[in-house]
Amino acid sequence: MRLFSDEPKQGGGKPFAFFRAGLSPSSAQKPILVFEEVFKFFKADQPTLRDVNLTIERGEFVFVTGPSGAGKSTLLQLVYRKQTVDEGRILFCGRDIARLTSESVPYLRRNLGIVFQDFKVVPHWTVFENVAVALEILSMSRRLVRSRVAEALERVGLAGRGQDVTGTLSGGEQQRVAVARAIVTEPALLLADEPTGNLDPHLALDILTLLEEIHETGTTVLFATHDHTLLEQRPHRIVYIDDGRVRDARKGLSDLAHTRPTVPHPESAQLDARPSNVVPLGAPRLARAY
């Protein structure tokens, strides 16, 4: 299923995802996101994430859950480089993003779509402007921007609302604007950090349903939430974070009770040890999206 009408039709999946990551089509077979022995400390003696080993396959829908302060948001922030790992590496489409230079981070984020709990839309901009900014960053032509934004708004149920000032919309509608902005660039990976946290249960389910529809077009979705009602209603894979460690339940909540935390790597106690295959500093940045 194609998300945008001007997208060239190719066989299976989303044709631009791995091209946008600057890799060959054969890379499409690799997992989209891999955490290898990742540690993150905010306090020296208390790791927020400890020895996280996690693989997210292309096209998966994964809930990331856990108690408050467990590290759900931190896990996502490591992916879009708001935070940096203290140990280990994170491979996105096969490239270690933990080693990216700060100049390369914008190009990483152009391959991601991010939705936040507090929406992060500009209230005095119009709906169109809030969504279009993601395409203007890619230096797209005005005509193409108008076309893509219209399609994205239609996709999220806000067709014809482009000229409305975003601040006048309801919370649910503003979050839809944020989702439209996240998907308008057709990202390989969509990160949703508690996107329903500020919404009532009915709207929360609407947003979840919307993200599932987007997922069905081939986008990989990481959905961080502490709302168990959502987990109960959808049998997606769950990554549970507790005390910094990760438990993986591939069949949803029912599977969670039967899983154990991932076994620590024998070298994980040596905090200054580095895996032998770590990509050196100064790894080339990801290619531009367009």
Binding site: P106, R109, R110, K120, V122, H124, V133, E136, S139, A289
Partner: protein, 295 residues
């Protein structure tokens, strides 16, 4: 990042924060106006100096009743000097008519009541370029010894004062230029700092969507340039308008005092002010962004 996109976003932001930018532009316009006025006055002082030939001129006023042969002898003696390039005999009538030139019709009518013999005949001596003022004074002393000569005016005092005025004017203009540049940097820098603070939400959103340095900074640089250009343009426009409105009165005053018309700044200079204002605005914005915007 495209320039067109930066301009579009800058225009939108300036519309949203119009008051902030208007205050900045108004302040800068006053600064540019002060500089423009100083330069205008300097230009006119320089014009007077040029009209009077600086120190390369001597007026030899002839004694009433001097014989034509004496005047001719004097003229030939003066023309023989190597420092003299030309000698022009001005009769009393010619001197009277040249005095009326440059004045208004009303002034000419009022001045015509002055008797003709109030304007003495003279020999107007033009010296070659580069004649030292001491040599000019020496020549004047030698000419004064001729019997046909009543008085010799070398204009040393006037030229000395004019030169001092010109030097002071130039120094003032340089000082004011630096002050105006500093004003532009500070005012634009502060305005951009406020704009950055007011738009931190937008900046955060752009960064999360993958905007690089150039995309975030571009509109702010455009805004700084627009502020500098607008201030320079407004000041030049006000200066021009003021000059056009007051030109007739200024012409009469300057003509009566120094026998020259008022002049305005050269067009190239106005273009230079616009370019300098724009560049100073961009520079002020860039310096402020470097300090207050981390991307």
């Amino acid at each position: 990042m495209s320039l067109a996109n930066s301009i579009t976003r800058a225009a939108r932001s300036m519309r949203e924060e119009a008051r902030l930018h208007l205050v900045a532009i108004s302040s800068l316009t006053i600064a540019f106006l002060g500089l423009g006025l100083t330069l205008l006055v300097s230009a006119n002082v320089e014009s007077v100096a040029d009209a009077w030939g600086r120190s390369a001129r001597i007026s030899v006023f002839l004694r009433d009743g001097a014989a034509a042969s004496e005047v001719e002898e004097l003229r030939m003696a003066i023309e023989g000097l190597p420092e003299v390039s030309a000698v022009d005999h001005l009769t009393a009538a010619e001197a009277r008519e040249s005095f009326f030139e440059g004045g208004t019709a009303d002034e000419a009518t009022a001045l015509r009541s002055i008797p003709a013999d109030a304007f003495p005949a003279s020999l107007e001596v033009e010296l070659t370029a580069g004649v030292a003022s001491t040599r000019s004074a020496e020549i004047g002393e030698r000419i004064a010894q001729f019997s046909a000569v009543d008085e010799v005016e070398t204009y040393q005092g006037w030229f000395g004062r004019l030169e001092s005025l010109l030097t002071a004017g130039r120094n003032l203009a340089i000082g004011l230029s630096l002050l105006v540049l500093l004003s532009v940097l500070l005012v634009v820098g502060n305005t951009i700092r406020l704009a950055v603070a007011g738009r931190k939400d937008e900046i955060e959103v752009m960064k999360l969507c993958g905007a690089d340095d150039a995309f975030v900074r571009g509109p702010f640089l455009v805004e700084g340039g627009v502020q500098g250009f607008a201030a320079a343009f407004l000041s030049m426009s006000l200066l021009t308008l003021g000059f056009l409105l007051l030109r007739d009165h200024l012409d009469a005053t300057l003509a009566a005092l120094a026998g020259v018309r008022t002049v305005f700044l050269p067009p190239l200079f106005a273009v230079g002010v616009l370019v300098a204002g724009t560049l100073a605005g961009v520079l002020g914005s860039a310096l402020s962004l470097r300090r207050y915007l981390t991307v």
